[in-house]
Symmetry: C2
Subunit: 196 residues, 2 copies
């Protein structure tokens, strides 16, 4: 079995990423803010390959940094992509599933919401995100899936901060978490990846 680690992503992190104070790994040049379109499509295809036998019906992410990778995965899997909004918008139906998520980056708690129209108990859902650090966003999305009675098939993450432990906690609960790169340690000078 081929594993889930994606060598090209590890190389891109090493050549184009920057470590900032506060354990921030800046990859804004290709994964957020600026998206390397061809590369994000390669990531989407790799996610589709990992989950191709799982009969996924929906890809779920949270706005806004997860949208690009989730759309690429949706395109590769040929299934709709849903994004949880961080605030109810004027155009959002009143009937929504919601969850509270605490963001360490922004030091605030925000609400995420998905319209009930877009998730049902018939759905087999893949959660996709650019980063997995403390896992709060993923856990918020999991609560929304529970409310909807939808089945969580697994998570597909571009970059997991392994040293923050959330990925391994989820795996210990029996949840399939596929991360294309897992950073187990990082300093200004180096990034250490978990082996396959």
């Amino acid at each position: 079995m081929q594993g889930s680690r994606m060598k090209a992503l590890e190389e891109k992190i090493l050549t184009e990423g920057t470590v900032l104070p506060g354990n921030v790994l800046k990859v804004g040049g290709f994964l957020n803010q600026q998206i390397d379109s061809d590369f994000i499509m390669e990531i989407g295809k790799e996610i589709a390959r990992l989950y191709e036998s799982e009969h996924i019906t929906r890809v779920l992410t949270v706005e806004s940094s997860g949208i690009a990778i989730a759309v690429a995965a949706g395109i590769a899997l040929h299934v709709p992509c849903i994004f949880a909004k961080k605030h109810r918008s004027a155009n959002m139906p009143r009937e929504v599933y919601t969850a509270s998520v605490y963001s360490y980056t922004h030091r605030e708690t925000y609400e995420i919401a998905v319209a009930k129209d877009y998730l049902s108990s018939a759905d087999r859902v893949l959660i996709v995100d650019d980063f997995l650090a403390n896992g709060n966003a993923v856990r918020g999305l999991m609560r929304i899936l529970e409310d909807a009675g939808a089945q969580l098939v697994g998570c597909a993450i571009a970059i997991e901060k392994g040293f923050q432990g959330a990925g391994d906690e989820l795996r210990a609960k029996g949840i399939r978490v596929e991360s294309l790169a897992i950073v187990d340690a990082m300093t200004d000078e180096s990034v250490r990846f978990r082996a396959q």
Copy 2:
């Protein structure tokens, strides 16, 4: 010459869209909130076809509803996609281009920002968005391009609200605006599209 109107989008608006009070056209089932992945890729390819001879170097949008369509256009054009953030994030470099945008939907003025790293005077930029209504977001992105000295090649919009006039105002200034569907009037019962 084949025009820019996309029949499949008009049909999807008619079958899956809903008109809400306040001139809101709700297309959350396929264009926001939930993305029809195959269809968004078709939209991306159509945008690429319209601008294929223009040597685009960057696609630019504003988070978060524009990201899906901009990424699809970026994938089809094989160029990077940049999204302006609505608030400076912890991970954003201090050196940014900014503009103020008034949102009629949310009745507030917000700042948009693009890191200076991602735009230069060598860029030929395509602005992409899901909706063009009053044009405030596009004008904010245009100010950012002016600050960067980058060239605006044109705009590619999924749904233009023609009755709000911003698209025609931009065209009158000589800006190329390609909208895949232009709604010239809408009521609870009907949506009238502008002919090719």
